[in-house]
Symmetry: C2
Subunit: 310 residues, 2 copies
């Protein structure tokens, strides 16, 4: 079992109706690793600047996360500043500073090269491709992307898709990628572009998995207190791939469980700011919420006879 | 078993990206009756004008729907004109003509008065109350409402809620009613206002049932072709109450099945314009799609051991 993530390591400044934080740990690679490391061993590939508080990663080291691929470069760490209103589904980006990320070229260490499962976080598809080119035996590749890459790096993204087993995007990204407004049709169009399966992430409305054989729907956990939705999608990906790696399977039943595990980890991530909740999370809590998802969707078959009496 | 609906009977003119229809059968009472009558006996209370093509209701009569409470008044039938863009979740109302509906006062016939389950379609809460006042032995009351009544008839709506067992609204209506932005908190606030349970209708994102004891989530069926979302909520209500009436139960397990049956009927309603699909629908198709919902959400429990090897 071995899992690799390439993604951003960021210092985020976030404001929601429920509070704010300045320069706190964030980035797709961090949310992914924090979620997945509860379930399996993870290698992180990314870059930080010389202003980065490395002790913030102690909790990942304690969970056995391999940080050898986390390069320290001269300059400032990648920064993102955003704000959410009461509609927590949409972030308003106030500022993005690439900083050391601008000249980042991912280099995989010995352990990372041997990873069987790989998550390509939301970065330039050209960099995502460079990661795949260094991987020696990838068995399952999942990738995220965003509107910016879909327009500015379309050709690179299209050449990546045939190497992607699970494309993880939201409704609008999927529509933009495929030009289809119906999301199920759009998922099939993405499959024709090469992605073997598609996970449509819908925030508080849950997630839909579309494979060649089946469709599966996982709700979002009905939380009463969502503090900060940042990182929900990457925590989802961490739970999803973490479980697949732990189970060593990508059979339909495992993909369904992985989708629920994704929703489970995402639901924890948004309960607090930054990685505050994922940092202290225990596997027993994860299991208990996973079980609660079963309660949330289970229902009995209809009685044999429903026909009305004449 | 006996089910009553009070709601509008309308001539709708609808345009979607997939076509248009002029002066076709519509209205909450009609969608509800068409859906529920596949499962149980339904009485309809409403009003039509002297321009209404009564033969359009033949399919309901054939299903045994009691139309004694459908008053014919002098004047024109209630008309609604609307348009949907590619985002089929939101209708743009172009014109509403109350016509004979303006002076409508519901009068329940002999069979309707004895109904055990009642659906109060989206009409003035004062009229909804008048229906309840005539019901002799209501056992379960469900009600829909909308933003317009929440602001213009707030007092009447608040006095109705303690008599409502299942409030069926969408996210924004629930937020407006309760002043809570989190939908789960908002559902609990609606319960404090008197509604015993709340069903949050979320269009293509499914439906959430919140009762005192439990929460249940039903997805929307992943359709590739949605032609006209008009009437989805009322078809949902028809499936929901139709099944409860058929089962003669409002136990938690029945409420869960009813929520899925609601999603099932709504998914058929939107496949064609007006009541075109519900008119020809057979119970066997309904059962088969209900079963498909089980496939859509089912997943296995986690293995006993998930802890990582040391």
């Amino acid at each position: 079992m071995s899992l690799l993530v390439v993604g951003s390591v960021a210092l985020d400044s976030v404001e929601t109706p429920f509070g704010k934080r300045e320069d706190v740990l964030g980035g797709s690679g961090m949310y992914f690793a924090a979620a997945a490391s509860l379930l399996t061993g993870v290698s992180v590939v990314g870059v930080v600047g010389d202003d980065f508080p490395l002790e913030d990663l102690d909790f990942l080291r304690k969970r056995g996360v391999d940080l050898d691929g986390l390069e320290s470069a001269r300059g400032r760490t990648f920064r993102w500043r955003g704000r959410y209103g009461f509609d927590l589904n949409a972030a308003q980006t106030l500022d993005t500073q690439l900083n050391v990320f601008e000249h980042f070229s991912p280099k995989l260490g010995a352990r990372a090269r041997k990873a069987e499962r790989i998550f390509l976080g939301n970065i330039d598809p050209e960099l995502q491709m460079r990661v795949l080119d260094q991987a020696e035996r990838p068995n399952l590749v999942a990738a995220d992307t965003m509107n910016y890459w879909i327009t500015s790096r379309r050709a690179q993204l299209l050449s990546l898709l045939p190497r992607v087993d699970v494309l993880m995007v939201n409704d609008s990204e999927l529509r933009q990628l495929t030009g289809e407004s119906n999301v199920i049709k759009a998922a099939h169009a993405a499959q024709r572009l090469g992605a073997k399966a598609v996970v449509i992430k819908r925030g508080e409305y849950g997630a839909v998995l579309v494979t060649a054989e089946h469709r599966f729907f996982a709700p979002a956990f009905p939380l009463t207190d969502v503090m900060d939705p940042t990182g929900a999608g990457d925590s989802f990906a961490g739970g999803f791939l973490g479980l697949l790696d732990r189970l060593g399977s990508a059979e339909p039943a495992a993909l369904r469980q992985a989708t629920v595990m994704g929703s489970t980890l995402a639901s924890f991530a948004v309960e607090r700011f930054s990685l505050e909740r994922l940092r202290d999370l225990e596997l027993a809590e994860v299991r208990s919420r996973f079980d609660a998802f079963r309660q949330l969707v289970q229902f009995e078959a209809l009685p044999d006879r429903l026909e009305r009496d004449p």
